[in-house]
Assembly symmetry: D2
Homo-oligomer: 143 residues x 4
């Protein structure tokens, strides 16, 4: 398997296990080693009465992109922690796109940056996640 | 209005506007000036195929508790940012409780700590939120 | 050794190794299991031309308190990461006090909160640190 | 003034006011709109007895790079908060380099990423800072 094939195989395995991302209407648009892009439309149960999206759903979209990007090397990886800055409100009906890229990997730890923007490319939030490898793998090594 | 009555009136106004917290099955168990407790059961669309809760829903529960705790003084307050540390996995069927308390307020900024635990009190996540006042109020001042 | 004696012995061992905290004029005022208090006066090389303290020294004081509080159980512990919110400026000649308390421990990871205030108790900064145990100990276990 | 000339004039004004960065032996290697690079050698009062650099000095170097990068547009800007992940220990005698780049600006708020590496380019720490504009300027507007 090439690194790209491995990234795609991991993403396919992740997607099969994932009840949340499909239930929220997320689309996986891109995956590559250390990278992932997901998008999601803000639906009526994601907002308050003024049509402003709950920060939890913006975080959840970014966190899914973080999970897909960090799980592209064959090892199973989880989130140890994350921080998010909310820069502009997101509104009902907007389609948000979360682009995850790898900032650093050292030993079992990794840092991923996820930029969440609207369709016009206006920045909604910046997310940074710390990942931690579990030491287990998605697939058995063929010998 | 006493501070406690104001906190409760703000929470009632917040709850009426909020489509997310009820849709996710959250219960508002306690509110007081600078404090709020919410609980939520982890349902089948919140987990992956192994029954492990997506971090986004743990964040969303904590973020709702943060919103209720920070909006107890009459002024409308939003989240500027937040960070979360995931300490233990949460599983399908668990009831999580998020307890928000105020750590600091200075000018328009505030810091709130939210502890998310399971029913036995085992810590699942620690969340810290930075709030920012909007300068607008929930209720017209009666003169 | 009681837990308090162990905390004090660890702190004494840490202090002997530490070139930074004494060089910056820090005083260790209190140590107990999971707790430490340090204070430091803001000197002329810690400020800009307007007498405002560089955030790095506020961080350094808080980080030292974090190190002393997290290294009180006999195991050597390091900082994996930290975040800080700056709430008010600190000025030349102020004596700052950093009070560290333990928020959570789970496995090898810990979360510590450090509050930095001036002598009147006015809050200057809030620091949260994530610790990670190294698996080595300060003292040989006597058998 | 071109944007580059303005960035350099702001950096010169900042450097004149700054007692800390020169006292710690920092060199300002590069400045441009939204960017700055500083380097610093880890001296004997920055380490513990094992020659491991105190995280506070790594933070201070990154925080200085953050300050120079965010103060390049003529408006005075301060740090509202920052987070840092420590990825590898830094040792006595190492020369560290902090490269600051702008991640986002929206209204008065900005996000800057600072990567701290050793001379071989090995990553030591990742820092993310939130800036806040004060609404005052370095220079009087000529009319």
């Amino acid at each position: 398997m090439t690194p790209q094939e491995l990234a795609e195989a991991c993403a396919a395995a992740m997607w099969r296990e994932d009840r949340t991302s499909p239930a929220l209407g997320m689309s996986l648009e891109h995956v590559a080693p250390g990278e992932a892009t997901l998008s999601m439309e803000i639906g009526p149960t994601m907002v308050n009465g003024h049509g402003i999206c709950h920060g939890g759903f913006i975080f959840t979209l970014a966190d899914s992109a973080f999970a897909f990007a960090s799980n592209t090397y064959g090892e199973r990886v989880v989130a140890a922690g994350a921080s998010i800055s909310f820069l502009r409100p997101a509104r009902l009906g907007m389609r948000l796109r979360a682009v995850a890229s790898e900032r650093a990997r050292a030993g079992r730890s990794g840092i991923y940056d996820i930029r969440v923007a609207d369709e016009a490319g206006k920045l909604i939030a910046e997310f940074r996640g710390q990942s931690r490898g579990l030491g287990t793998r998605f697939f058995e090594e063929a010998s």
